[in-house]
């Protein structure tokens, strides 16, 4: 599934947070969006999903497989969310429903979009959990009883359980330690490629981006300031902002 964003703007309280952003994610492509925190990355992903609450004004076009989604009513967007597009959030501890069990969380998109029997759902959930590396006995534990890395695996399972064609990963590794980060990125990449889906991977960390994407956009203060193959951006950053982010990533990886 391809997603094309054209001249996207997001305004909040008289302030322009996302300013005239144009970008595309081709079918089966893994594309990165990098910027320091506060540059408006999350706003873009939430605009695509239709998750921005009242008060945020979204302008421009977002084409999801030929459908313009900006301005679609919430109940129509809901049909797309969790079926056509899956999303993974930054901090699983703040995103997973704390009163749910692992299985209860993962089966939610199935419940909402598919007419399956309990048994069928259960089988699909267990299969998905196995794919993200969580053994069966985790299924009935409360999500709060898991570690951060395990919780992010649950979040990935939730996003992918319906085999969506487009995945948005919004800083999926930021809340994790560096060993876990790599595991999660590798897992995500292999699962997305396995599905043949496309992915928009958002991060502020170039070192993560190199693993996850082939092509990237650099966002600064709501505008796209640079774009290109991730490897090229990393090796020979031409724009000042990109250079700063690359330097930061290199310093961090030295640690």
């Amino acid at each position: 599934m391809s997603v094309t964003i054209e001249n996207l703007t997001v305004d909040y309280g008289g302030r322009r947070i996302v300013d005239d952003v144009t970008m595309t994610v081709g079918d089966g492509e893994r594309v990165g969006l990098i910027g320091s925190s506060g540059s408006g990355k999350s706003m873009i992903s939430r605009a695509v999903m239709g998750l921005l609450p009242d008060g945020f004004d979204v302008g421009g076009r977002i084409d999801v497989n030929g459908t313009q989604v900006v301005g679609l009513p919430d109940d129509v967007m809901a049909l797309l969310r969790g079926a056509g597009i899956g999303m993974i959030f930054q901090n699983p501890q703040a995103a997973l429903n704390p009163v749910q069990t692992v299985a209860g969380q993962v089966e939610l998109p199935l419940k909402l979009h598919y007419d399956l029997t309990k048994k069928e759902r259960r089988a699909r959930v267990l299969e998905m959990l196995a794919k993200v590396g969580l053994p069966e006995q985790f299924a009935d534990r409360p999500v709060t009883a898991l570690s951060g890395g395990q919780q992010q695996r649950v979040a990935i399972a939730t996003a992918l359980v319906t085999s969506p064609r487009f995945i948005i990963a919004d800083e999926p590794t930021t809340a994790l330690d560096s060993t876990t980060q790599k595991q999660i990125v590798d897992l995500l990449v292999s699962l997305v490629d396995g599905l043949g889906a496309s992915m928009l991977f958002i991060t502020h960390d170039f070192s993560v981006l190199a693993h996850a994407t082939t092509r990237s956009y650099v966002l600064d203060d709501g505008r796209i300031v640079d774009e290109g193959a991730t490897a090229d951006l990393l090796a020979a950053p031409s724009v000042a902002r990109t250079r700063t982010l690359v330097t930061a990533a290199k310093t961090l990886s030295l640690r």
């Binding site: 939430r46 999903m49 239709g50 998750l51 609450p53 009242d54 919430d74 109940d75 809901a78 049909l79 969310r81 969790g82 079926a83 597009i85 899956g86 999303m87 959030f89 930054q90 901090n91 703040a94 995103a95 997973l96 429903n97 704390p98 009163v99 939610l108 998109p109 909402l112 979009h113 409360p142 709060t144 009883a145 979040a155 939730t158 996003a159």
Partner: protein, 319 residues
């Protein structure tokens, strides 16, 4: 479990402290308790007899302990005015007050939670603003005034729609349930509107809190829920611990409204009774009634805290 036991210990300590405070409040009364209770024109012999009867010549500690012993065995003493056991009097009054509280609370919860959700989720902006305005203004209305306005609107005799009784309670109490219930409708509506307004505000802010703090709502929506559905199912559930807490506190404040309303509608409840007893200086009765009320609220506070802890998985885990 550990938390519950600790909180239970706290409850016992608080009960003890409060009982001492109430006992002290009666005893620091300027002048002689017996003289006050016997009334202005009592003879010295009557006062002395009363002193002996109440054990007021004993040391304070002995008096306190013997009162406490009675309380623990359910003996709160007898009323000076009627000679009836205080426990029985309070039980009779509670048969009016508790139904009033429960009915009021039910109205408040239904109004507060549904309108609170609507104040967040209504499609039109002006509806949300209007609901928010109603909640804010409702929180500023004195219970007495709300009661009076309802009387003017619905009360029989004075009301624009003269439909509901505004004074008293059937002599035979709940023996005629229909009449008893109609007598409670206006008072309960008064309490329900006042408390409902604050529950509405809390519901609204708790829901918005759940939405803005963390991505639980966003994830539920990302799974395919509409915002409305995510807020009503997931959001309300996550807001519950917070709501239980504030409703518990609101409940404690609700009693002021309940007492005012009982007086306004001339219902023979605990509030009216307590105010009358204080006015008539029936101090033994006052002492027992204050303790029972305080104990009731402490137990409610305990229940609320335990419920809050049980309902919030994050707290459970932190403990």
């Amino acid at each position: 479990m550990k938390f519950t036991l600790q909180r239970l210990g706290l409850l016992v300590v608080a009960l003890a402290v409060v009982s001492v405070l109430i006992f002290a409040a009666i005893r620091v009364l300027p002048g002689d308790v017996a003289a006050v209770m016997a009334g202005m024109n009592a003879s010295p012999a009557r006062i002395a007899a009363l002193r002996a009867e109440l054990g007021l010549d004993e040391p304070l500690v002995v008096q306190y302990l013997s009162w406490l012993k009675g309380v623990v065995t359910g003996d709160f003493g007898t009323s000076m005015l009627t000679g009836q056991p205080i426990a029985a009097i309070v039980a009779g009054r509670a048969a009016v007050t508790f139904p009033l509280i429960l009915l009021g609370l039910a109205i408040a919860l239904v109004l507060g939670i549904s309108l609170g959700c609507a104040a967040v989720l209504a499609r039109r902006c002006w509806v949300r603003s209007l609901l928010q305005a109603i909640a804010v203004v409702g929180g500023a209305v004195p219970a007495l005034w709300a009661g009076l306005l309802l009387i003017l609107l619905l009360g029989s005799g004075t009301g624009v729609l003269s439909v509901l009784p505004t004074q008293g309670f059937p002599q035979d109490g709940w023996a005629s349930p229909g009449r008893a219930l109609t007598c409670l409708v206006l008072p309960a509506l008064t309490v329900g509107i006042i408390v409902g307004a604050s529950i509405m505000r809390y519901t609204r802010s708790a829901l918005l809190d759940v939405e803005t703090n963390g991505d639980v709502i966003a994830l539920a929506m990302a799974c395919g829920m509409t915002r409305r559905r995510a807020m009503v199912t997931v959001g309300l559930r996550l807001a519950t611990p917070q709501l239980v807490s504030v409703v518990g506190l609101t409940f404690a404040e609700m009693i002021t409204g309940v007492m005012v309303v009982e007086n306004l509608f001339a219902l023979p409840g605990i509030g009216t009774g307590l105010v009358t007893d204080i006015g008539q200086r029936d101090l033994i009765a006052v002492q027992g009634e204050l303790l029972m009320l305080a104990a009731f609220f402490l137990v409610v506070g305990f229940a609320v805290d335990v419920a809050h802890r049980t309902l919030d998985p994050r707290l459970e885990r932190a403990a």
